[in-house]
């Protein structure tokens, strides 16, 4: 008997045939990452949780449209991005998408497991992220926290790689100015 790990592609194929158990297993693998992505661009736990549920429901309904299971992650995050920005538009329909700021960014995101890391650094990071524009913050989240490549980020955000790099590097210049000195002082 040969054992092998069940890959996402296996689960996606089974879920596309209507096997809900396979989809639930797939959800359990991705829900934390999607939730934290949404949490960092919405800065609100309730919104992030509601959106995460919507994202996985929509993903299940459209799973058969996913031709390449290997592209599941960018495809899923594309849905998440669209859901989040759809929510932003509903709340402030008159505002330009680029001007939309998540409601709780000024207060910063409350960090879970704060006993592990110094609160000063956590607050500084949350504050620095909150001062970025939504586009810059999302680029940092997708790159640093979610580990996507530029091409995948371009697919998720539906914009050229050059735009992604521009947003990310501008954000990094701002973050470097604020965070590098704190880290260099050896807070952690």
């Amino acid at each position: 008997m040969i054992f092998r790990a069940v890959e996402d592609a296996d689960l996606i194929r089974q879920a596309a045939r209507g096997r809900v158990e396979a989809y639930n297993l797939l959800v359990s693998r991705w829900e934390k990452r999607v939730y934290n992505y949404l949490l960092r661009i919405t800065a609100n736990r309730e919104d992030a949780l509601d959106l995460t549920q919507d994202v996985f429901l929509k993903a299940y309904q459209n799973l058969r449209k996913l031709d390449d299971p290997g592209r599941f992650a960018p495809w899923l995050y594309r849905i998440a991005h669209n859901e989040a920005y759809s929510m932003f538009r509903k709340r402030r329909p008159e505002a330009d998408v680029d001007e939309i700021e998540p409601g709780a960014t000024e207060a910063g995101i409350t960090v879970g497991g704060s006993s592990v890391f110094p609160i000063e650094l956590s607050l500084a990071v949350a504050s620095a992220l909150g001062r970025l524009s939504p586009d810059q913050r999302e680029a940092v989240v997708l790159k640093i926290y979610q580990g996507f490549k530029f091409e995948e980020m371009a697919e998720i955000l539906a914009c050229p790689v050059s735009t992604i790099k521009s947003r990310l590097y501008t954000a990094f210049e701002l973050l470097k100015t604020e965070l590098a000195p704190i880290k260099a002082r050896g807070v952690s």
Partner: protein, 199 residues
């Protein structure tokens, strides 16, 4: 301005190809400013990742509702129409099949359309006149023949009438002669002879 052969940020974010990564790595080892820039980027990243992921407050799971669960056929159809690749493949397959069927079908017998026979006759004015004359002559002959027939019939009828008149006159003469004979006989012999009347 960096003196690195490639963008230090691309190197730091591991977006360069392997040879490019090695090239920048070798450069950074010997270049103090670039080394310091990489240190700052690493410090920034370390600060960012200190913000750990949170646990999701509520696990997400779905249950299958048999009432609203689409049938396998409907799922397949939805997947088919929802997939541009599958639709494209089906279209290409149908097109290929049509081409193959067209190529393999028996060649039809070439029936060339018959060109209408073009009869060109050159008719002179004299011929036309001759034809008209012939047609007129035929028509006159037919009328003459018809008239002759009628005349012939009329003559025959007259002849018959004449014969009937002659016959009637002869009968009248005969009757008058018999009257005279009867009167003579009656005057001479006292009455007509029955046998003589019958002869």
């Amino acid at each position: 301005m960096s003196c690195s052969p490639f963008d230090l940020r691309d190197y730091f974010l591991r977006e360069l190809t392997d040879p490019q990564q090695r090239q920048v790595e070798a450069h950074v080892k010997t270049c103090q400013p670039c080394r310091e820039e990489i240190d700052r980027l690493e410090a920034t990243e370390a600060a960012l990742v200190s913000l750990r992921d949170e646990e999701i407050p509520q696990r997400i799971a779905f249950v299958s509702d048999q009432v609203f669960e689409p049938s396998p056929w409907r799922r397949w159809l939805a997947g088919f129409w929802g997939s541009a690749a599958r639709l494209g493949f089906a279209s290409a397959a149908m097109l290929s099949a049509a081409i193959v069927v067209y190529a393999l079908r028996p060649a039809p017998i070439q029936e060339l359309p018959k060109a209408p026979q073009q009869i060109v006759q050159t008719v002179s004015g004299g011929d036309i006149q001759a034809r008209i004359d012939a047609a007129v002559a035929r028509a006159v002959a037919e009328v003459d023949a018809h008239e002759a027939e009628k005349n012939k019939q009329l003559v025959a009828d007259l002849e018959n009438a004449r014969k009937r008149l002659l016959l009637a006159a002869a009968e009248l003469d005969l009757s008058e002669m018999r009257g005279r004979r009867d009167r003579v006989l009656a005057a001479n012999y006292g009455g007509p002879h029955e046998d003589g009347d019958r002869k």
